[in-house]
Every structure is written in C-alpha cells, then in structure tokens.
C-alpha cells in the first residue's frame, strides 16, 4: 500500500514537472515570446523599448529559468505574473475555488445528463427516445462553446450549466456505446430471457460490466472539463483559472503559464489516478 502510494506520488510529481517544463519550452520557442505590446508605443524612447525587450529576454534561457523556478517552488514562491504584476500564488488563491466550483457543477450535470440519456435509450428501446437523445447530444457537441456561453449570458443562466451541456455529449456517447455492448453480452441476454426486470438487469448485470470503463472515463472527463471551462470562463467573464490561462497565453506570461500547467497536471493526474484506483478496486471486488 505504502509502496503503491509512493509510486503514485512520484508519478504525479514527474508528470507535473515534465508537463510544465514542456509547456514552458513550447511557449519559449513559439513566436512572440520576446514581444511586448509596449514596443509599438511611439511615445517610448529607443532606450525604453530596448529595456522592455531586455526584460523579456531575461527568461529566454528556459532551463535556467526552470531551475530557478523549481527551487523557488519548494520554498513556496510561485513567482510574479508578468502581465498582471501580481504574485501568482495570490492569483491562484483567488481564482482556483471559482474554477473548482464551476467544474464540480459542470461535471455533475454532464454525468447525470449523459448517463441518464444513455440508460434511457438502452432500457426503453424507443425510436423517439433514441432520436431525441441523439439530437440533443448532436446539438450540444456541434455548438461552439462561445455561442452557448453567450446564449446563457443572454438568458441569465449560470455559466457552469453551459459547460455541463458541452461536456455531456461525450459522456453520453461513451456511456451509450458501453451500455449497448453490455446489453448484448450473453449473461445479460440470459437474465432478460429469464424475465429479470429492467432495473434489475441494469443494476446487477450491466453495471458491473460497464463500471470499470466508466470509471476510466471519469479522469478523462476532468481534463475535458478543464478544456471546456477555458472558453466558457473567458466568454462569461468568470474570474477563474481558465480566464487566467487565456491571459497567460495571450501575453506569453511564462510564470503564470508554468504554474497553471502544474495545477492542470495535478488535477488531471489526481483524477485519473483516483479513477484507476477505483476501477481496480471494483474489478478486484467483482472478481
């Protein structure tokens, strides 16, 4: 148990550090890293423009920057955002709870709606139900996040619900396919032939087969949620981490981006590790 936990922790740290280093490297080599909008300010003197350019070049050596960053990280110093001129720690402290709350609500809605529709289409083999579910799923998977988010602002509805509606089609799709495969399994067919009721078949025969793969999807759905929340937060002006990530990308704000990558990596990996652990435990218990 301790060995497994330690390995998991090492894995988490390795992924966080690798992802943030890779992200920082990509930002460094991407065009515009050494650019600052102030360079186009015609009121600035030549010396000032040179000074601004030099300041951007201070972080040019990515390995040197990263070494210094990791050392500071272990001292609790996350650096200062170049674009917002505020300590990154303060920014994260203010914004993380907002995003976590939005993510929790969005995922709850997405899973509830996705699974409910998937189960309904399998349990009640109705053309109308299937058509409506497919239509609903197709509608929300085809609608740009920005449009849906704006519509929700127009209707004064919470942005988290928009995010939930954007995530649910993927959960519905996977859930639907998994359930369809499970319902075709011999032991399920046998149970149905022997007269077992719909709910009994679902709970006692179908669920144990599909649950491991659905648990694997939990981890993935968290990273999908992070991806969906970014445009929703930007459009709906929710002061969360997604909005911060967009600002970091636009302004090539290295300290902010590295820390945000760490946060995203932590959240994604923790979610996948927990879902894997739950899946393994469930499979062992079932066996």
């Amino acid at each position: 148990m301790l060995r497994s936990f330690s390995l998991g922790l090492l894995r988490l740290l390795a992924i966080m550090l690798l992802a943030s280093l890779l992200g920082a490297t990509l930002m460094r080599i991407a065009p515009g890293f050494t650019s600052d909008e102030q360079q186009l300010n015609s009121s600035l003197s030549s010396q000032s423009i040179q000074a601004i350019r030099q300041a951007r070049l201070a972080d040019a050596d990515i390995l040197h920057y990263y070494r210094g960053y990791v050392v500071s990280l272990f001292q609790g110093d996350l650096g200062v955002s170049q674009s917002l001129n505020q300590p990154v720690r303060d920014l994260l402290r203010e914004r993380l709870p907002v995003t976590l709350r939005s993510m929790a609500i969005a995922l709850l809605l997405a899973w509830f709606l996705g699974l409910a529709l998937a189960i309904t289409t399998q349990m009640f083999h109705s053309g109308f139900v299937t058509f409506a579910s497919e239509g609903l799923s197709g509608t929300f998977i085809s609608t740009p996040a920005a449009v849906l988010a704006l519509l929700f602002v127009l209707l004064r509805l919470p942005a988290e619900l928009a995010a939930g509606l954007l995530i649910f089609p993927k959960i519905y799709r996977y859930g639907h396919n998994l359930l369809q495969q499970s319902y075709a399994l011999p032991h399920v067919l046998t149970a149905r032939a022997k007269g077992a009721g719909r709910w009994r078949v679902l709970v006692w025969h179908v669920a144990p087969t599909t649950l491991p793969q659905l648990l694997a999807l939990v981890g993935v759905s968290i990273s999908i949620a992070i991806g969906v929340l970014l445009p929703v937060e930007v459009i709906c002006d929710v002061p969360g981490v997604g909005q911060l990530a967009w600002q970091a990308a636009e302004a090539r704000d290295l300290p902010l981006l590295v820390n945000l990558t760490l946060v995203v990596a932590f959240a994604t990996v923790c979610a996948t590790m927990l879902s894997d652990a739950a899946r393994r435990r469930f499979t062992r218990a079932a066996a």
Binding site: G23, F131, S223, T283
Partner: protein, 268 residues
C-alpha cells in the same frame, strides 16, 4: 428506426452532393463581394442572404461544408488511429509499457499545445494557400487530439485481455497481430467509432476557435467553423435566423452520422 436510418443516409448523400456541386448551385463563388448588398436578408438572388462583406452565404456554406466535412473526418481518423495504436499497445502489453505510455498520455493531456500550433503557423510561409494551411491545421489537430481517447481504449483493451474469450484465443495459439486483428479490434470497434464520430464536430469547432488566434482557415476560404464563429454576434445583437443555418446543418449531419453509427455498433 429503419425510417430514421434512411433519412440519415439521405441527408448525408444530399450534404455530400451539394458540397461537391457547390460551383453549380452557387456560381458566384464564396469570395465574390456584392458590395451593394452587405448583410442582406435572404432573397431570390441570395437564398441565405449575404454576410457583412456582401458574400453569398449559401455559397460560403456549401464550400465550407466541403472543407470541414472532408478534413474534420481526416483529422478524427488520424486521432483515432493514434489513440488505438498507443492505447492498444499499452493495454495489450500491460506492465511497464502501459505505465510509461499512460504517463506519456497524462503529460500530453496537460501540456498547452496552443504554442505548438503557433510555432507551426510561424514556420509555414505567409503566402501558403488557404487550402494548404487548412489541411495543415486539421492534420495538427489530429496529431494532438488522441490522448483523451487513448486512456479509454487502454482501459478497454486491458479488460479485454483478462476476458475469457481472449484467454481462450491465447490458449489456442493466437497472439500478437493475429490476436489484435481477430479478437481485440472487433470488440474495440464500438469505442473507436464513438471516438471518431465525437471528434468530427469537436475538430470543426476547434478550428473555429483557433481562428481567433490566426490558426484557422485563411480568408477568403470559408469553413463551417468560421461560419459558426459569426454566431457570437448574432446571439446578443442581431437575431437573424438564417445565420443559424450552418449550425443546423452541422447538427443534422452529425446526428445523421451518429444514427448510422448506432446501426454499425448494433451489428458489431
């Protein structure tokens, strides 16, 4: 259900034919600017009206469908192939191979790939044709969009490797490629197809979002994604129903694909 499937096939055939026959249906082309009638309502000359620069919306929709409905499946296929390869190998071998590959997947999911897209755009010549740049964009989306599905495929493959029929197959001498081709792939088909069909609209919309950063389709070439991007202004200020036609077309096409997918999955 049979009637639904017939309808789905009809819709897809119609979409393909109109996209291919765009030149005949809308001879003015997608780039000609009718400057005397910008932002016009539908009329006999312009069945879906014109956009803000006076370009025929129907022509742009038909050519946009051609771009998006050809390239998004290509990107989705690429992503699915990579996901199947990496997820499948990880699930098949298990052990350290699986651990390393899933570590790679997790790192991949966390990295902000936006900067790679910016770098690739910077490397491409500025005078690259819009057609070439959109192919490159979708290809990149395909190369970057596999990670989320690889986990699910790995989990499915791993579970299948422990299942009775695979044990039996291995006991009778099946292994390696033969085992994968005859036993694993057919049972993964449902999951792979699901990933494929979900990715198509996702890539279409991602292309539209990338347009905000200059990574989408270059003017004047339209795509479904760029047409959907116009809806950001419609929602709050200009409720002109005909501007929703690209969204309706996309929903209908995606739903038709999914209806046919259900039939394939049942058969599988």
């Amino acid at each position: 259900m049979k009637a639904l499937r017939i309808a789905a096939v009809t819709v897809l055939v119609l979409a393909a034919l109109t996209a291919l026959g765009a030149h005949y249906i809308a001879p003015a082309g997608y780039e000609h600017q009718f400057r005397e009638t910008p932002a016009a309502a539908p009329s006999s000359h312009h069945l879906l009206g014109t956009d803000d620069l006076g370009r025929d919306r129907l022509a742009r929709l038909l050519y946009g469908m051609r771009v998006s409905l050809l390239l998004a499946p290509f990107a989705a296929g690429l992503a699915t192939l990579l996901a199947a390869l990496i997820g499948g190998i990880a699930g098949y071998w298990g052990g350290w191979v699986e651990r390393c590959l899933m570590l790679l997947v997790d790192v991949f999911l966390c990295v902000p790939w936006l900067f790679l897209l910016l770098t690739v755009r910077a490397v491409l010549p500025l005078n690259i044709s819009p057609e070439a740049s959109v192919v490159v964009t979708f290809a990149l989306l395909g190369f970057l969009g596999w990670a989320a599905s690889a986990r699910v495929i790995c989990a499915g493959t791993r579970d299948m490797m422990k299942s009775e029929f695979v044990w039996m197959a291995r006991a009778t001498g099946f292994s390696g490629l033969k085992l994968i081709r005859l036993h694993l792939l057919p049972n993964l088909r449902g999951t792979l197809l699901a990933q494929f069909w979900i990715s198509i609209p996702v890539f279409i919309i991602t292309e539209a979002n990338l347009g905000m950063l200059g990574l989408g389709v270059a003017e004047p070439l339209p795509s479904l994604g760029s047409l959907l991007g116009e809806l950001q202004h419609v929602v709050t200020l200009r409720p002109e129903p005909w501007q929703f036609v690209p969204l309706i077309v996309l929903i209908v096409v995606v739903s038709s694909f999914q209806t046919l997918l259900n039939k394939q999955e049942v058969r599988a």
